[in-house]
């Protein structure tokens, strides 16, 4: 294994909790919910579901009206998060040095769903025969990554990973490997998702995995690990991390948030939607081995935990299997309780919140009270209600488990 270490030197985010990574994290620590009842625009039939909406995000302000009109919302959210991470890392926006090996790894599940839906509406309902000329390049799943590569003059790998809910985690893992191997000194990695289109919501409803709720209950509709959990809450958002060769980051005096030190992946190879604790455990073990991290070193796990009946208990089974007797001491929380499930972006939000937690020595909570926890999710040290502060945090894991059976786990250590 290479001796190179990988530093996280920049963070960017647009989430239902806030317009920046820090604002989102502070809202998370304060126990606020970013969820609300959402009715998609231009719906042919009435529809409203609990959802995480990036209400503070104004595309016209971020891009200008002309440019915003050429981008799907998933790209708008992702580009904003990516550029914020770049600025946060103290890197120049335009090429000031040779960036032919620098790259980007991005994740998205449904990509340009908004643009596709607009096109179908125009064709099938509006009766039009023509679509806007940029439909293809707006909707394609690599649009966001390509826009970022163009703006930041990144000449190396520019790849987009579409692995459902593991998309961004896998993008981060693959970017991590490129930096650690020496293939790229700097990688921008993350993911974005804008799934709150009428047709996408209808499709998720058909799968019967969405949590119900009305205007009053929507903010607390996402209940991972709780007895009353009834499904996931769809959300939009974007998150990005700048991954950088540690020595390079130190040399330029960059702020190092944390170290990304391991990545593990696996496939359940069993069922498209039913998760497997064995498959998840293999990814967890692979990440620990990759990071040369003993289970006893793990202080915190940012769980995948989406709030489905089966998924949350299977994840706890995988964690207790891999962490053994130490599991009972490991702080675990499900931040999706506050911001919902951003699908292909989820791994990036989890990574950013975990990195901030390691840096500030604080564990963000699962919204809810300890008394509400499901006994079937016991076996770990759940952090509920309010953030846990004042405990040493040395190492943490983030889980991302996708429909299709793909599992991706990232391992982080606090900066020296």
């Amino acid at each position: 294994m290479s001796a190179r270490r990988v530093a996280v030197t920049g963070l960017g985010m647009v989430s239902p909790l806030g317009a920046t990574a820090q604002a989102s994290f502070e809202a998370l620590l304060a126990g606020r919910s970013g969820l609300r009842l959402h009715a998609p625009a231009d719906a042919p039939k009435p529809l409203s579901v609990p959802a995480g909406v990036c209400a503070e995000f104004d595309p016209a302000a971020a891009f200008g009206r002309a440019k915003a009109g050429t981008l799907d919302r998933y790209s708008q959210l992702g580009i904003t998060a990516g550029l914020a991470a770049w600025r946060d890392a103290g890197l120049e926006p335009a090429a000031s040095e040779d960036r032919e090996s620098w790259g980007i790894a991005w994740g998205t599940g449904v990509g340009g769903a908004m643009v596709f839906e607009r096109g179908y509406r125009d064709l099938f309902i509006g009766g039009r025969e023509r679509l806007p000329p940029l439909t293809v390049v707006q909707a394609m799943n690599n649009a966001c990554a390509s826009h970022l590569a163009i703006q930041l003059a990144l000449g190396g790998s520019c790849a987009t990973y579409s692995v459902a809910c593991a998309s961004a985690a896998m993008a981060l893992g693959e970017a991590f490997r490129r930096v650690r191997s020496g293939a790229a000194p700097v990688m921008l990695a993350g993911g974005s998702e804008a799934p709150l289109a009428y047709g996408v919501i209808r499709a998720w409803l058909a799968l019967q995995v969405l949590a119900p709720g009305d205007a009053e209950s929507a903010p607390r509709a996402s209940k991972p690990f709780l007895r009353e959990r009834a499904g996931l809450v769809l959300a939009e958002g974007g998150g990005a991390l700048v991954l950088e060769d540690w020595a390079r980051a130190e040399q330029r005096g960059a702020r190092i948030y944390a170290e990304l030190c391991g990545y593990g992946e696996s496939c359940d190879h069993g069922n498209l939607v039913r998760p497997s604790s064995e498959g998840q455990a293999r990814a967890l073990r692979a990440a620990l081995a990759d990071a040369a991290m003993a289970p006893q070193e793990v202080d915190y796990v940012n769980a995948h935990a989406t709030g489905t009946r089966e998924g949350d208990t299977v994840e706890i089974a995988a964690l207790t299997d891999v962490l053994g007797a130490h599991a009972a001491q490991v702080a675990v929380s499900a931040t999706k309780s506050a911001h919902g499930h951003t699908l292909g972006a989820a791994g990036a939000l989890a990574a950013a919140f975990t990195v901030l937690g390691l840096r500030e020595g604080v564990v963000p909570p699962t919204l809810g009270e300890a008394a509400e926890l499901d006994p079937e999710c016991a076996g770990v040290a759940h952090v509920t209600g309010s953030a846990r502060r004042g405990v040493p945090l040395r190492a943490a894991l983030t889980n991302a488990f996708a429909f299709g059976g793909t599992n991706a786990v990232l391992a982080f250590r606090a900066a020296d």
């Binding site: 016209a60 891009f63 009206r65 002309a66 440019k67 050429t70 023509r130 806007p132 940029l134």
Partner: protein, 78 residues
């Protein structure tokens, strides 16, 4: 007399610029209109005004030129 309001309204909606009060010379590039955005806007103009923008039409460079192009196309619409 030609009704110019629709052209003004389009520019106002699309770019957030009131050409009646702002400088007509405002460059489209300064409003973030690049070649891709212009491509999208040409499509919108064709759909909205029922006109055809020929491929050899010089691209408008300012808000005033954009309004003039829409007015000219609308006036000569078959």
């Amino acid at each position: 007399m030609l009704d110019t309001a629709p052209a003004y309204r389009y520019v106002q909606e699309r770019l957030g610029v009131d050409v009646k009060t702002a400088a007509a010379a405002t460059e489209l590039a300064s409003l973030g209109v690049d070649s891709l955005a212009l491509l999208e806007m040409v499509f919108e103009i064709e759909e909205r005004f029922g006109v055809k923008v020929d491929e050899d039409t010089p691209p408008p460079r300012s808000c005033g030129e954009l309004v003039a192009l829409i007015e000219r196309l609308a006036a000569t619409k078959p």
